[in-house]
Symmetry: C2
Subunit: 469 residues, 2 copies
């Protein structure tokens, strides 16, 4: 209330005494006020009555309520003490797979016996678009503003990202066996090259290569992609050190090397690489990861759901590896919401380390914001609320009965919040969701398309005699 009165007074003053230009407020597009503001900058600065000013797609001012008078804004967003933090970054997912969510969750050898055959039958341009649309809505509703995706027909995913207004790194899959959009790895690489050419100048989309994993690609393919990625300066995303099956195949291929050692030995471990999972790694592997300056996507929820184990992610974080949180795909996690990873990340690292202080909430939030930005090599643009950075910001409801009270906002986010507590989501200065309503896409239409597509999935799965439950 005090704030609003002040702004009004300033506005009147600005009209009355136009000659006092030193006093005139600067015009911005969006002014967020009365925030419990977590900047997630280097010093982890916070403001109790925080203000963020946004002009175009950039943050132009960050401070306490005293700076509010310096700005007039086209859109005012008084968040009434709610928590304001950088948009969450999902460093690893397969958004289109939402259409398969809740299928065969506990099938043994699930990837090879269930998921690959299912995808062979059902992946198409339509499926990719329909699934990505749903995944995007789920992510925006859960406060994810940037995501890193690995799938097929990524040009279809790109169209959905462009439309909704999110930010994304989209990696076109390369794999040695025939898939929906390529007969072999070389065709996959060519698909990726065309996609990269088409999207290389998009302001919010970074096209990328996504070789599925070391064991599902040849050394030659992995080396070819590494070389191309450095020439074109695009990211490479890969599943790495995820399973014992992978360890065995690579050990046999490469004289007993670990997957990380192998990738290093063939020249594929470099600053453009983002490795997802990284569960089965030792200290020697971590040294190679650090030297390479690669990024790491830590997918706690998916890794424990499949009983694959717990990545030494906390150790990597503490040793300044570029590491952020990811959800993995909706057949793995099963949600795409980073906020719903928080408490699992905190608690399981505490459990594994037998120490309740091992994983304080602020580290978890850092891994979901600046850590994730670093993992994607985007820390100059996103990951914190700082002047000059892109305006990717979310607002989390502090009055929901599960959130009240908030003595420590980091703790409240990690232990109390769920995706339904996100109120507003802003990407590139644009409000994509306001008061939980999607502003840039038709959520009902997206939902209906998914429901229609699930009929095809049901028929296909049931006809083929596969496990549904």
């Amino acid at each position: 209330m005090y704030l609003k009165k002040t702004l009004l007074a300033v506005a009147i003053a600005a009209n009355t005494f136009v000659t006092f230009s030193a006093l005139a407020a600067q015009q911005v597009d969006l002014l967020i006020t009365d925030a419990t503001l977590l900047t997630m900058n280097e010093s982890k600065q916070t403001f109790e009555n925080g203000v963020v000013a946004i002009k175009g797609n950039k943050i132009v001012a960050v401070g306490d309520q005293s700076i509010a008078k310096n700005y007039t804004a086209k859109t005012m967003l008084d968040v009434d003490g709610d928590i304001v933090l950088p948009g969450l970054i999902n460093t690893h997912t397969h958004a289109s797979m939402t259409v398969f969510r809740s299928l065969g969750d506990d099938v043994p050898d699930r990837l090879h016996r269930y998921i690959f055959p299912l995808e062979k039958k059902l992946v198409s341009r339509d499926m990719v678009r329909i699934g990505a649309n749903l995944g995007n809505v789920e992510m925006v509703k859960g406060g994810v503003t940037t995501y890193a995706d690995m799938y097929y027909f990524e040009d279809e995913v790109a169209k959905t990202v462009d439309k909704i207004g999110m930010r994304a790194i989209l990696g076109e899959s390369v794999i040695k066996f025939p898939v929906a959009d390529a007969a072999n790895a070389d065709e996959g690489i060519q698909y990726a090259l065309n996609f990269i050419e088409e999207y290389k100048d998009h302001p919010r989309i970074t096209p990328a290569f996504a070789p599925h994993a070391p064991y599902t690609n040849t050394t030659e393919t992995l080396q070819k992609i590494a070389k191309l990625s450095l020439e074109l300066d695009v990211p490479v995303m890969i599943h790495l050190a995820e399973s014992h099956r992978e360890e065995e195949v690579i050990a046999e291929r490469a004289n007993g090397m670990s997957p990380v050692e192998y990738m290093h030995s063939i020249g594929a471990l470099n600053k453009n690489l983002i490795g997802a999972h990284m569960i089965l790694i030792d200290d020697k592997d971590i040294e190679l990861v650090k030297e390479s300056d690669m990024g790491v996507a830590h997918n706690m929820s998916a890794n424990i759901k499949s009983a694959k184990g717990v990545s030494p992610a906390l150790k990597m974080y503490d040793e300044n590896v570029r590491i952020g949180l990811g959800t993995d795909g909706p057949m793995s996690g099963n949600t795409l919401s980073i906020i719903d990873e928080f408490n699992q990340v905190a608690k399981v690292h505490k459990l594994v380390n037998k120490d309740r202080a091992a994983m304080p909430p602020i580290k978890v939030i850092d891994m979901a914001t600046m850590g994730a930005a670093k993992a994607l090599h985007m820390e100059d643009k996103i990951g914190s609320i700082e002047v000059g950075k892109l305006a990717d910001i979310i607002v989390v409801d502090t009055k929901a009965p599960n959130m009240l009270p908030v003595y420590n906002p980091y703790s409240a986010l990690v232990y109390s919040a769920n995706s339904g507590n996100v109120r507003h989501t802003i990407v590139d200065g644009n409000i994509l969701m306001k008061d939980r309503e999607m502003l840039t896409v038709d959520e009902d239409k997206i939902r209906q398309e998914v429901i229609e597509f699930t009929k095809i999935v049901r028929e296909t799965v049931i006809e083929s005699g596969e496990v549904v439950q």
Copy 2:
């Protein structure tokens, strides 16, 4: 749509040909239709277009859409395919502690160094009422219909439960040192006896004893309570086999016995007992638990947040111990929502057992419904949707972007759902929440009272120099 037309035709028929009494529809109070219905009965029966008829506080019919025509209802609830399941049961919490949520989450030796001193300063009738009101709202919004509470001034908690319309077992604390409502254990027992006398005939509230733990009470007190509880036929709730500190104190007191062995040896392990946590137990303890017919509250989220370890809850469940899920208090869990326990329970048991098939979703849902009802010795009244049982039922939104699609409703509940996905909550035949709106209490007023009280908490904590974050 088909269903509604049929009902209309039946209604007209009933009016026109009143003499054909065999055709006349039975009048009920509430008819739920078009449900993805999980009954959680003995055979785990499900219905794709399920119908539940409720008269007064009882379920009078359960079936598929063919039975709908047999009923006319004062209130119709067409849930459009949403998941309908028994109300969730929270077998262990301290609801009033919501007012302390997010305080000092990672303080070492937290219970003794932080929580007990905080409670000494701040627990009062007002605090208990204000906190319980918030906890109740959080639980109803998250689909909890029955809870088991251990705290002080439980007569204040009882008033809030009576008002909101939930079901609860409320245990008055007994502890050997001075607390807000008793100077010693004997005064605590007397407080409990008065409370039991006052509430022993309440239709939804079961008053109980709640000795805090074996190590915070004397053998004499524990035996006295055991004897009284059998005489009065009321439950006894206790924290049991939770911490190494407890193990050490009890081993010293009782010739190296485990806490469970000790309770058995003093005659306090019996069918009226509900033990919370039960982390540090071995096979011999489990045998004693089975013999005693006691109930167990499994609080995964709280136990891993504090790095205390993982209870062998899955083993107990598989060996038919009476075991259900609990959240523990909001300083421990930190939410009171059983639905938000689901994925942690499933994933951590998978992780610990190194087997993705170790904890299928249906077991998790069973532990939250029938398992929990058994843990509280209430399985004849609640825990499943069956004719003759009390009408405690919840409806979970299947169209939220994080829930879509639902090929397997158990899987969707465990891996996709969060507390925000609960749409309707029904207790004792009354709708307490409809379309996420509270119907029996004033949520805004409750929230305001909490916000006011947090000012006192902040001042007290900060003045005393205690850790806030």
